[in-house]
Structures are given as C-alpha cells and as structure tokens.
C-alpha cells in the first residue's frame, strides 16, 4: 500500500492529534499501572489501595520465590495451560480436518462446533459447575452408564480431579478458536500437493504427516502460543468453580495473586508475583510476535 504523505494542510497536526487518545490511553491505563505495580512490588505495602512507605526492598521477591505456594501456583498454571493447549489442539485438528471436507450440513456442524466459544465465561463456569455436580450432575450420570465405571469422582472438590475438570472446561471453551484458525490454515495448503502425493501412492496417514502437518506448522505455532498466553491469564473458571481449591490443587498464579491481594492483603508480594507472571507473558508474547510477524513478511 502506498503511504500518504503530508498532502492536506490538516495533515500537519491531525495525525498527531488523532493518536493522542491511544497514546494517553496506553500511557495512563497500561504503562503507568504496570510501572506502579512494579514499584509496589519493591515495597512492604500491605493493604492494596493504601499506598506504600518509601524505600526499596527486594524482600517480597525473596519471600515469594521461596514460598512453596508460589511454585505450586506456577506448576498449576503450567499444567493448566499445557493441558488446555494439548486438548484444544488435538480436538481442533480433528474438527478442522472434518470441517475441511465438503458434506451435507457442513455449515450447521460448523456453527455447533463453534458454539462453546460464543458462551460468556461466567455462563460456561456455572453450567459446567452444575454438570459436574457430584450428586446430581449429568457428567457423573453419564459416567455411570459406562459398563466399567463403578464409582464417580467428586469432580470439583477432589484435589485429584479438580484441575482436570477445569482444564476440560477450558478446552471446551477455547478449542473452537483453534478450529477456525486451523481451518483457515488448511485452506491455504494447495490441493496440488495432495494430488501429487496421492498419485505417488501415499495413504491418508502419510499424507497427513507429510503434507498437512508441515503446512500447518505456522498456524499451529500461533494457536499454541495464543492459547498459552490466554490460559496464563484465565481467571474466571478457576475463581468461580473452585476458588483455587481444593487444597491449592487449582491455585493458578492469577488466582493466587488475586487472593494474595484481596484476601490476605499482601499487596507487595501480590505485585511481586505479578512481575513473575509479567516476565512469563513477555517471553511468550515476544515469541508470538516473532512467529506471527515473520509470517507477514514471507
């Protein structure tokens, strides 16, 4: 696209003026809060909202980094995000492959597959909480119908199952996004490749691994990174369904930080953990920018 240069006399001041809301917005609503948060993480501030006494201290970082709860939260976050990504990508590929073929009623199937994505997070949390109900829930009822199942878990209140249960909900909610991106990716793979490979006598499995997977590599990378980043920040499901429990089994960093600040009123260490999360997000985001920008310049 050809750039516009200064043509009209308004062009001398208008562009700058039009950028002002964005720049002010980012400065005041994003950069300032982040900087402020970093500053607070270096104080002994107790009550969030009450400011802090001056003086720098790395105490918060020391205590946060030595606190097993922090590492538990990091571990939960990683399992939660990793589980979400694996589940979403596998389901996403399966669904995308199915939807890539033409068949009667494809439009409808597509809508039904994407539906979970359209539901508000709070609604999803509540509906699944109801379905997971250990005594009256439809999930356990369904399990009992299976011949080999004897007893059913108390999903959300059992430390062994709680994280899995929430991962399942998150997969259910996010995999449609993977489907749409992967579907778009599949459509960019040229039919000629499949044709050539079919002529060479390759079977469907071979074709999948020799052509489809390499063709989707870029899109897959993007899907994985975005899902990771979003899962890192996911708050609603855990907060509403388990409150980080039972016994910390689902206490992901975001939730941990929230409780640290609002239940235990340790603002300093909450912000210190926030900085940890920030570091992890920056790493992931940088990778994401590299991958997705690289694609643009191909």
């Amino acid at each position: 696209m050809r750039p516009t240069v200064i043509a009209d006399k308004q062009d001398r001041w208008l562009p700058a003026a039009m950028l002002v809301p964005l720049l002010v917005g980012i400065a005041v609503l994003v950069i300032a809060p982040l900087a402020w948060g970093l500053r607070i993480s270096l104080t002994d501030s107790k009550m969030i909202g009450l400011g802090f006494r001056d003086g720098l201290t790395f105490k918060n970082y020391g205590s946060v980094l030595t606190d097993p709860d922090t590492w538990n939260a990091v571990w939960v976050t990683i399992v939660f995000s990793g589980g979400t990504v694996v589940g979403s990508v596998l389901l996403g590929i399966a669904a995308a492959l199915v939807l890539d073929r033409e068949f009667f009623g494809r439009g409808l199937v597509r809508v039904m597959v994407i539906l979970p994505w359209a539901v508000p997070h709070v609604v999803a949390a509540l509906v699944w909480q109801w379905m997971y109900n250990p005594d009256f829930g439809i999930v356990n009822y369904g399990l009992l119908l299976l011949p080999w199942v004897e007893s059913t878990p108390k999903w959300l209140s059992d430390p062994q199952y709680a994280l899995l249960a929430i991962i399942l909900v998150n997969v259910w909610k996010t995999y449609p996004f993977a489907v749409l991106l992967l579907l778009a990716g599949l459509q960019t793979i040229s039919d000629d490749l499949y044709e050539a490979s079919a002529i060479d006598g390759a079977g469907p499995m071979r074709r999948f691994f020799d052509i489809t997977v390499p063709g989707l590599r870029r899109v897959l990378a993007i899907v994985v990174l975005l899902l990771l980043i979003w899962s890192f920040g996911n708050f609603v499901f855990i907060f509403l369904m388990t409150q980080g429990g039972p016994a910390g089994a689902t206490n992901a960093l975001v939730v941990h930080i929230y409780f640290e600040a609002f239940r235990f009123f340790r603002a300093g260490s909450a912000f210190a953990m926030g900085s940890l999360l920030l570091a992890m997000s920056i790493i992931l985001t940088s990778i994401y920018i590299m991958v997705s920008r690289g694609q643009e310049h191909d």
């Binding site: 240069v5 200064i6 043509a7 009209d8 006399k9 308004q10």
Partner: protein
C-alpha cells in the same frame, strides 16, 4: 484556464531520486503530455503538481502563485486517476457532484451542471448507478466528468486510458481531445504509450530516469529527437540507429560501419569530427528506398525477417553487428525474399546523427 510552471523540481525518496530537476512551462489551454518508460517519474511529477506529493526541491507555480505548500483543495486542479478512483458508495450523480457539494454550490446549479456534463459524456441514463454497476468505459467517462464539472485551472490525467481495451482507448482518446478543445482547460496528461502521446499532445515532454529528455511538438520530436533515447522511444517501429565512423578525407569524408557506407554530407563533416570514431547514424524506416546494389545505396544487408501488416511490410535487415528496419510498400515487398541481400538509399536530409557515447544528437542545422 491557467498556466503552470515547474522550476528545478526534484523529488527524492529515501532510497531513490524519482524526479530530477524538472523545469517545465505549461501554457494556457495547452495539452501537454508527459511520456516515458515505466518508473521514470511521470506520476510523481503530476502528483507534485496536484499537491499529493511534496517537492523536495524547486518551485511549482500555478498561474502566478507558488503552490509548493498549498493543499490539493486550494490548488483548484482536477485529476483523473488510472483506476478512476470513483467513490464506490456514491452513485454517478453524487460522484459527479461531489466537488460542487463540497463547495456548497446551490442545488439548482448542481443539478444543471450534472445534467450538462452527463449529456456531453453520454451518462444521462447511468446517473443513478453505483460505480460497481458500470463498465470500464463508463467508469472512465464518469471520472472525466468528475474532473470537468468544476472547470478547474488544470486537468491532470494519469494514464486514464490504460485500463481500457484497445478499441475503446482510441475512441476515448479523441473524446478527451475534443473535450479539452471545447473547454480550453490547460491539461497535463501522463502516459507511457508514445503513440497516445503523439496523437493527443500539443507538446510532449519525454522523461527518463526522472529527467526531462526533450520538450517539443510531436512533429519536431519525431523529426529531430534530441538524443538516441528519444529517437528510439518515439515512433513504431523506432528510428533505426547504426553505429559508424567518420573516415575523414577532407571534403570527401565517408561514414562507414556494419551495413553503412555513405558519403558524409558536406555541411556535417565539421560537426561530426568531434565524435568521429563513435557515431550513430539514424533514419526512420519509412525514409528508406530500395536501390538495388547501385552506387547510391548507402545502407545494405540481408533480409532476416519480414513482418506483414497488410498495407505495408516491415523488413528487418541485418549486416554484421547492426540491424535496421525498412518499411516497404506491398508492391515492393512482394519482390523481397528472406535472405536477399538488398541495398537502400536514404535522402541525406533525413539522416540524423548522434554521439554514441553521450547519446546526444549532433544537430546539423
């Protein structure tokens, strides 16, 4: 109706000098054509006149006002774009009346002018269509209409015909020329097609690599190209240029080279001496006559291809390193076979000479 003047105008992009010290005087009611190969800076020049691009150096004047820093809307020019740039969300009526509405012209006057323009361009029945529902030729006419409805000081047209098919292009050419004559608006027209330039322009500016090569009337450009580039750019087929040397022997000097062996015109000898051993002799394919192998045959070679055009034939003749094209009447062409060795003569007055090293014409006045 206005005049315009460019004085040493340059446009420098970070990595590229697109227009290099261009100076131009455009007279009132003139139809000036900018022509040159792709990328030579024609559009950039035009866009600087329109105000869409800022000149890096130099001055641009419209009438007696320096407009370098004026907004396009304050220059009172109208422009027709290559892809027409019709506003897709407005119908033809609103496209035509856009500039009038911006100037808050009275409704009745807008109505009158639109009808008038629509009539002169045969758009009356299309006024309520959107651009998407028009053919290429119709869009083109709307674009023209949008320019003429305002009676601007200058018309600027950037390859307005290049999206039309060949037949429509010729038709629209004369349409544009007619309109320009009727309205008498000073016009600057950009094209990369030299035949379009020749048929339309009252004067032609030939550009190359951001520089003006020559400014002249079509006829002068054709007859007396200022350099080898213009000689080869103007005319289809272009002027033949053959390398030769001046064999200086006092008054009896001769020019010789592959396929060339002529007596040097007496009045030219002194001028040609300056570049004696690297000359180009040029002549138009139609200025050539078959002369057998007679003594006055100055040019010769064997026929390597014949292109039959019906009303005439173009014979390509090769001799050593050189090649030239001869335009032959059908009766003459019938007697020519591939591989024949043929000699030609050219009226000495029609010969043109160029310095091979600089490409500049050596004019023999």
């Amino acid at each position: 109706m206005a005049t315009a003047r460019l004085e040493n105008v340059s446009k420098r992009y970070p990595d590229h000098l697109a227009v290099d010290r261009v100076s131009l005087d455009i007279e009132e009611s003139e139809f000036l054509v900018l022509v040159g190969p792709s990328g030579c800076g024609k559009s950039t020049t035009l866009r600087m006149i329109a105000g869409l691009e800022n000149a890096t150096e130099g001055d641009i004047w419209i009438d007696d006002r320096r407009v370098n820093n004026a907004s396009p809307r304050d220059r009172d020019v109208a422009m027709v774009f290559q892809n027409y740039a019709l506003y897709p969300h407005m119908n033809v009526y609103r496209n035509l009346s856009y500039s009038l509405r911006l100037r808050r012209a009275p409704k009745a006057e807008i109505e009158k002018l639109v009808q008038q323009v629509a009539e002169s361009l045969d758009l009356t029945r299309l006024l309520h269509r959107k651009p998407g529902q028009l053919s290429g030729g119709q869009r083109q006419r709307v674009a023209l209409g949008r320019a003429i409805i305002r009676e601007p000081k200058l018309f600027l047209m950037d390859e307005p015909l290049s999206n039309l098919d060949a037949k429509l292009r010729v038709q629209t050419r004369s349409e544009i020329t007619r309109l320009q004559r009727e309205l008498g608006v000073t016009t600057i027209y950009v094209t990369h097609d030299q035949s379009e330039a020749m048929t339309m322009g009252s004067r032609i500016v030939v550009m190359k690599d951001g520089r003006i090569q020559q400014i002249d009337t079509p006829r002068a450009l054709y007859r007396d190209p200022a350099n080898a580039f213009v000689a080869q750019f103007i005319g289809t087929p272009p002027m033949n240029l053959l390398a030769c040397r001046l064999d200086d022997a006092g008054d009896e000097a001769a020019l010789s080279g592959d396929g060339v062996g002529i007596k040097c015109p007496a009045d030219a000898i002194d001028l040609l001496r300056s570049a004696a051993d690297s000359l180009l002799v040029g002549f138009r394919p139609e200025d050539i006559a078959i002369s057998g192998d007679g003594p006055d045959a100055g040019f010769g070679g064997s026929v390597v291809s014949i292109e039959e055009l019906g009303h005439e034939s173009l014979a390509t003749v090769a001799a050593g390193e050189s090649q030239f094209i001869a335009r032959l009447a059908p009766s003459v062409a019938d007697r020519v076979r591939l591989g024949d060795r043929i000699g030609f003569s050219v009226d000495p007055a029609k010969l043109r000479f160029f310095d091979k090293r600089t490409g500049e014409a050596i004019s023999i006045a």
